[in-house]
């Protein structure tokens, strides 16, 4: 049952992504309204699918990498809908939904990566917090991309369709800052719990695990960006470049979990 629901939800995300991208180019208000509806409908189906899965499994659907990524996609879409309304940022979907779609496509739950020996509340909290952090950083990435596009328009002085659709630079910079400030504590706490948990479960904090190693790198990039922003007056283009770098490492981290052998996956 959850498989079918999930498939339909993914089709919904495909439609929403297509509509959001079409809106970005065409700027037809109708397309935007349809994209919002499709997003909401797909998200509701996704919610039901996740609940059904949790009931089937008798545990939170967070124990395997594909499951966790699916939940991450779910949080991303939730944040996207919320921020879009909050900031009146009608083009946000075009930048966030493609990422959410790619994430949700990984979630064919065929592989289990954490054996049944590993469980317990700490594990769920570790994964849950890390996922919320990652979701916020997806939004951070989208904000940075939009910032760079708008900045390029204003600098090149050749105003294309994006100049009209994208919001002000100040707004986009604020968005990237806030999503980072929101996501970073989640990511940090999630990682610390993971490290502590690894210490007890695997016997060592520094076992060779691709996902764990890659996530430390991502954390360092984000920590540096946040510190630079808070103390060094980093902003605008530089902060945006770092947001994109951080996201690239984060994507590697998730891929490592999905495709490489290691304690998290394989």
């Amino acid at each position: 049952m959850h498989q079918t629901l999930l498939t339909v939800a993914i089709i919904g995300y495909v439609a929403a992504t297509g509509l959001a991208l079409a809106y970005l180019v065409q700027r037809e208000e109708m397309l935007h309204r349809l994209a919002v509806l499709a997003t909401l409908a797909a998200w509701v189906l996704h919610t039901i699918a996740l609940l059904a899965l949790a009931i089937d499994l008798g545990r939170p659907p967070l124990a395997s990498m594909p499951e966790a990524v699916s939940v991450a996609a779910w949080v991303v879409v939730l944040l996207e809908m919320w921020i879009e309304r909050r900031y009146g940022l009608s083009v946000l979907g075009a930048f966030v939904l493609p990422v959410a779609l790619v994430l949700s496509l990984q979630s064919t739950p065929t592989r289990t990566l954490i054996g049944p020996t590993l469980s317990g509340a700490w594990l769920w909290v570790h994964i849950g917090l890390a996922l919320v952090g990652i979701a916020a950083l997806v939004l951070n990435f989208a904000g940075a991309v939009m910032y760079l596009l708008q900045e390029h328009q204003l600098r090149a002085k050749r105003l294309g369709t994006l100049y009209y659709t994208l919001p002000a630079l100040a707004t986009l910079d604020r968005l990237t800052y806030r999503t980072l400030a929101f996501g970073f504590p989640f990511l940090t706490t999630g990682l610390i719990l993971g490290v502590l948990w690894a210490g007890t479960a695997w016997g060592s904090v520094f076992t060779f695990d691709p996902l764990a190693l890659s996530s430390y790198v991502a954390w360092t990039v984000y920590a540096a960006t946040l510190a630079g922003r808070a103390a060094g007056g980093w902003h605008g283009r530089r902060a945006a470049y770092f947001a994109i770098l951080g996201f690239a490492v984060l994507a590697l981290t998730l891929s490592a979990g999905l495709f490489l052998p290691g304690k998290h996956g394989g």
């Binding site: 708008q150 204003l154 002085k157 105003l159 009209y164 002000a168 630079l169 100040a170 980093w234 283009r237």
Partner: protein
């Protein structure tokens, strides 16, 4: 009876001719009365702006009405009729409706989306009304045109983006800073255009305003005009550090604002963006300044390019507006059918209502002891009878008008119910 519009505009007539033909308000009244007094025209509205002179009219014989009206117009203005008739365009019925909607929505304007035309059309309508030249058809047409114009304005972005250099600069500032509340501006040099741009910025909440000029007196004068503060010219770099937007318009032959200066100023700003609007020719801001981080610099040519982009944007939106107008034309034409029969329906209702209320009054006068309920019952019953009787003829009239042949039915109804001559 036919609806038509006839006239000339910036599209087909040179400005000299438009100027000659343009009518001022007093003359317009005279002309409208003059035209109404001839039997050639039933209803008329004259729209006279610097870009168009048009007559919207309803007449039995449109060709004749058009000739009569423009002959009179030419006579009033002392223009050779032949020159006017050579360029005159005429749209009838559906095309006239479309033209009225397009004009009111500013789709036919020289600058698409300009906001003045709707006001001018409204004024023309009001003036014709005060001269009693407006009947049911033009009333319906123009009220619908106003609604269409409003719809076009709200549902498309036809008027959204600036087509003047100074407004374009304000929009750019918004795209950089978001809101402009509390952003500070510095004017370097004092020209008409920079004053205008500064005023637009102040309207958006920009505060405070600093003015500097080589001539101290001129700086003070301009500062007073803008409720700002005058700054001595050699303290410009201090002011640069404090503001977010700089408008330059000096007549200096060499750049006044050098790269080194801006670089130094940016150092202390901790990344706060600085936006130069350089409307001076030759330029006041050195060309290489805009390669600095967080510095945006638009000279007059850049701003003109932005305006061009905005105009393309309006043209794009205009296509959407045309589709909207087309839908409204269809809607209106369906309604217009009814317009012809509505006066008859109204007088038919009035006639029967007069009979009903008269009879009820007489009956009640003969029933002094009737209770309130009885009176109400009699009222209700009589009203019901009238409505039932009216139902079939009204439906028939509406149907016939939609089928396009209401005339014989209208006459029949007038005869049968004794409504008098149409």
């Amino acid at each position: 009876m036919a609806l038509f519009v006839s006239g000339l505009s910036h599209r087909n007539a040179p400005v000299e001719l438009r100027e000659q033909l343009a009518v001022e308000e007093d003359k317009l009244r005279e002309l409208l009365r003059d035209i109404s007094s001839t039997n050639a025209v039933r209803e008329a509205i004259i729209l006279s702006t610097c870009n168009r002179v048009e007559v919207y009219a309803v007449a039995d014989v449109p060709g004749e009405a058009r000739t009569v009206m423009f002959r009179r117009l030419c006579r009033h203005r002392g223009v050779e009729p032949a020159a006017v008739e050579a360029v005159l365009y005429t749209f009838a019925e559906g095309d006239a409706v479309r033209h009225a909607f397009r004009v009111a929505s500013s789709l036919d304007s020289m600058v698409i989306g300009e906001p003045q035309i709707l006001g001018q059309v409204k004024d023309a309508f009001a003036l014709a009304q005060s001269c009693e030249a407006v009947g049911p058809a033009l009333h319906a047409l123009f009220t619908h045109a106003f609604a269409v114009a409003k719809k076009v304005r709200t549902e498309t972005e036809i008027a959204r983006h600036a087509v003047s250099v100074s407004f374009a600069a304000v929009e750019l500032a918004k795209k950089i800073f978001g809101g402009l509340e509390g952003k500070a501006v510095l004017l370097v040099g004092a020209g008409k255009m920079s004053e205008l741009a500064a005023r637009h910025l102040v309207e958006q909440g920009v505060f405070p305003v600093y003015v500097t000029n080589r001539t101290w007196g001129r700086a003070q004068e301009m500062a007073r005009a803008l409720s700002g503060t005058a700054v001595p010219f050699d303290e410009m770099s201090t002011a640069l550090a404090a503001v977010d937007i700089v408008i330059t318009s000096t007549g200096a032959p060499e750049p006044v604002i050098r790269r080194e200066l801006v670089q130094r100023v940016m150092h202390g700003r901790r990344g706060r963006p600085l936006f130069f609007i350089d409307i001076a020719v030759p330029r006041d801001v050195e060309g290489t300044v805009d390669s600095l981080d967080d510095v945006y610099c638009y000279d007059i040519d850049d701003l003109k390019q932005v305006v061009d982009a905005n105009i393309r944007e309006r043209v794009r939106e205009a296509h959407r507006a045309e589709i909207l107008v087309e839908r409204e034309v269809a809607k209106f034409l369906a309604k217009l059918g009814d317009v012809e029969v509505i006066p008859t329906i109204v007088s038919l209702r009035e006639r029967l209502e007069a009979i009903r209320s008269g009879e009820v009054k007489r009956t009640l006068a003969r029933l002094p002891g009737a209770t309130l309920e009885t009176r109400e019952a009699i009222e209700a019953m009589s009203t019901a009878i009238v409505n039932k009787i009216l139902h079939a003829p009204i439906t028939k009239l509406r149907e016939s008008s939609r089928a396009g042949s209401p005339r014989s039915w209208l006459e029949l109804v007038h005869e049968l119910f004794g409504l008098g001559r149409r």
